[in-house]
């Protein structure tokens, strides 16, 4: 199996508290892997260690090795031989639990990162923006109000804007941290459909609180218990219907 992220004995602590305690896992390429685990088990921390976002927090310390497969090359996430931080983050896009558009207009939310991180400005930037907005089905809704504040969009639209912002930077891996948890059911479904349509082109690691959502989307499951994670569970090995719930509950 080809993998996009490989973690070995990954441990993370903040201050004196150890959050991740030796994670060993290979996440497959161009599949949806759903991370499951109790609240506080370290799912967000695990995602953030892949784009090195943990380093932005006080008291962070990390051990172990992590490697990413990007542009056809396997490289360490940090340390010698790793990609520059801004390129790593460009290639590993992230969408947060609650929508976090920048306090700018809808258009500039995508144009600014394109200009600063990807060096795409002017017409080139506008084309890339249009493409990304089309990819998330937002272009028709916002094309005539690109200069309105992003905060004027609905929650679901904002979340799609954030996804488009990540997609515009042409990532290979997407980290989705409970992308539907702050949305109502219809908007959540919309995002799910989107994730489903992206699965063949991107490697997707997604945290989910909803088992049914995980079952709808996941090709693989990873179960995080008290900061440890060992291996993946293919969707085919998961029992169907209500049994799945007790099966997972036993693992958590």
């Amino acid at each position: 199996m080809e993998f996009c992220v490989s973690l070995r004995d990954l441990s993370v602590s903040f201050g004196s508290r150890q959050i991740l305690k030796g994670v060993n896992v290979d996440f497959p390429c161009r599949k949806v892997t759903v991370l499951l685990g109790r609240s506080g088990s370290g799912k967000t921390t695990l995602l953030r260690s892949i784009n090195r976002l943990n380093e932005s927090f006080d008291g962070y310390r990390g051990y172990g090795t992590g490697r990413v497969f990007l542009d056809g090359v396997l490289r360490p996430i940090s340390g010698s031989g790793s990609l520059p931080l801004s390129i790593l983050r460009r290639k590993v896009g992230m969408v947060f639990q609650s929508p976090n558009p920048l306090p700018l207009s809808i258009g500039k939310n995508i144009l600014l990162p394109l200009a600063l991180v990807a060096g795409k400005e002017g017409e080139e930037g506008k084309d890339a923006m249009k493409k990304a907005l089309e990819e998330v089905g937002l272009w028709r809704e916002v094309s005539d109000r690109l200069d309105r504040p992003a905060s004027s969009l609905s929650g679901g639209q904002q979340q799609r804007l954030c996804l488009a912002r990540a997609l515009a930077l042409t990532p290979e891996i997407l980290l989705l941290d409970e992308p539907t948890s702050s949305l109502d059911r219809a908007a959540g479904r919309r995002i799910e459909e989107l994730i489903f349509s992206l699965r063949e082109r991107y490697s997707i690691l997604m945290v989910s609180h909803s088992l049914s959502q995980a079952q709808r989307l996941g090709d693989y499951f990873a179960i995080l218990t008290e900061g440890t994670l060992n291996g993946l569970l293919p969707a085919s090995e998961l029992p169907h219907g209500a049994e799945a719930e007790t099966f997972i509950a036993n693992l958590l």
Binding site: S56, R89, N100, P101, L102, L104, K108, L112, D147, P149
Partner: protein, 292 residues
């Protein structure tokens, strides 16, 4: 409990009214005394306005040189103060270690606590020291006054920048970093513009403080009559000093009214500058946000 809430409400209402009342009273008084004397006579004396504006002929008994002096002084002061003020605020909120933060903010608080007359004395002693050592021909003047005024207003810029940056939500920083922005890009393109409103507040405070201060400039180069500002090292006239001088030396009621006129002019001048900086900030913010 209800009663307490009611009295609290009443108290805060009254305080708000008090501010409005005091401001209104002050304005009404200034306008009633100073308003009638406003006119080209007040600014230019007997000199033809056009020639005075172009600096072709000196103005002897008008406010124009003081207006020009104050404008020039403010410009120079802000040129000295804005960059270090904002820079130090950025350092304090984004880069300083806890230890540095402690000592640096203590230093800023101390600087903020220095009375302006002490700052004026400092400038005066500084130029005496310089005359004995590096600059035997140095003298008090525009440059020295602007430097001391800049020291005086620096803390308000630092504090405003720091607190408005620290008030930004962490999620903003995280969003920018997750997109791959470098530290500098995040600061330049996201955090500083988002804190713009608060920083502008600091700039306004600094402008107002520098415009009204008399104690510093009295000791560092302002004089009662010097004509239009002649250069960086020459003596100059300034509105607050003109007001102070008139109030201390007036001979008759007409002269005192001209003092009120000068106060009104100073008020309009700083009001105008505040308005300009507000407009500038609003335009910059619109450009940044990309919002029509």
């Amino acid at each position: 409990m209800r009663k307490r809430e009611m009295s609290l409400l009443l108290l805060s209402r009254l305080s708000a009214l008090l501010v409005l009342g005091v401001l209104g009273g002050l304005l009404a008084f200034l306008i009633s005394r100073g308003g009638p004397v406003l006119g080209k006579e007040l600014f230019f004396g007997d000199t033809p306005p056009l020639e005075a504006l172009l600096g072709l002929r000196p103005v002897w008994n008008g406010l124009w040189p003081a207006v020009a002096g104050t404008l020039f002084l403010l410009l120079l002061t802000m040129a000295f103060a804005v960059l270090p003020g904002i820079g130090c605020g950025v350092y304090l909120s984004c880069f300083a270690s806890p230890r540095e933060k402690y000592w640096l903010s203590l230093a800023v608080d101390l600087l903020a606590g220095i009375p302006s007359i002490v700052m004026g004395l400092f400038g005066f002693l500084l130029i005496i020291f310089l005359r004995r050592t590096l600059l035997p021909r140095g003298s008090t003047g525009m440059l020295l006054a602007a430097f001391c005024l800049a020291l005086l207003v620096l803390p308000s810029l630092i504090v405003a920048t720091r607190s408005s940056l620290e008030a930004l939500p962490d999620s903003l920083l995280l969003a920018a970093e997750a997109l791959g922005f470098s530290r500098g890009q995040t600061l330049r393109h996201v955090l500083l513009p988002a804190a713009g409103q608060g920083i502008l507040g600091g700039v306004m405070l600094a402008l107002g403080r520098a415009a009204e201060d008399t104690a510093v400039i009295m000791l560092t180069g302002a004089v009662a009559s010097a004509g239009l500002p002649g250069g960086l090292t020459s003596k100059f006239e300034a509105l607050p000093f003109a007001i102070y001088y008139t109030a201390a030396q007036y001979a008759d009621r007409a002269e005192l009214d001209r003092g009120y006129g000068a106060a009104l002019v100073l008020l309009c001048l700083s009001g105008g500058l505040l308005f300009l900086s507000w407009r500038l900030q609003r335009n910059l913010e619109r450009r940044w946000k990309g919002v029509r």
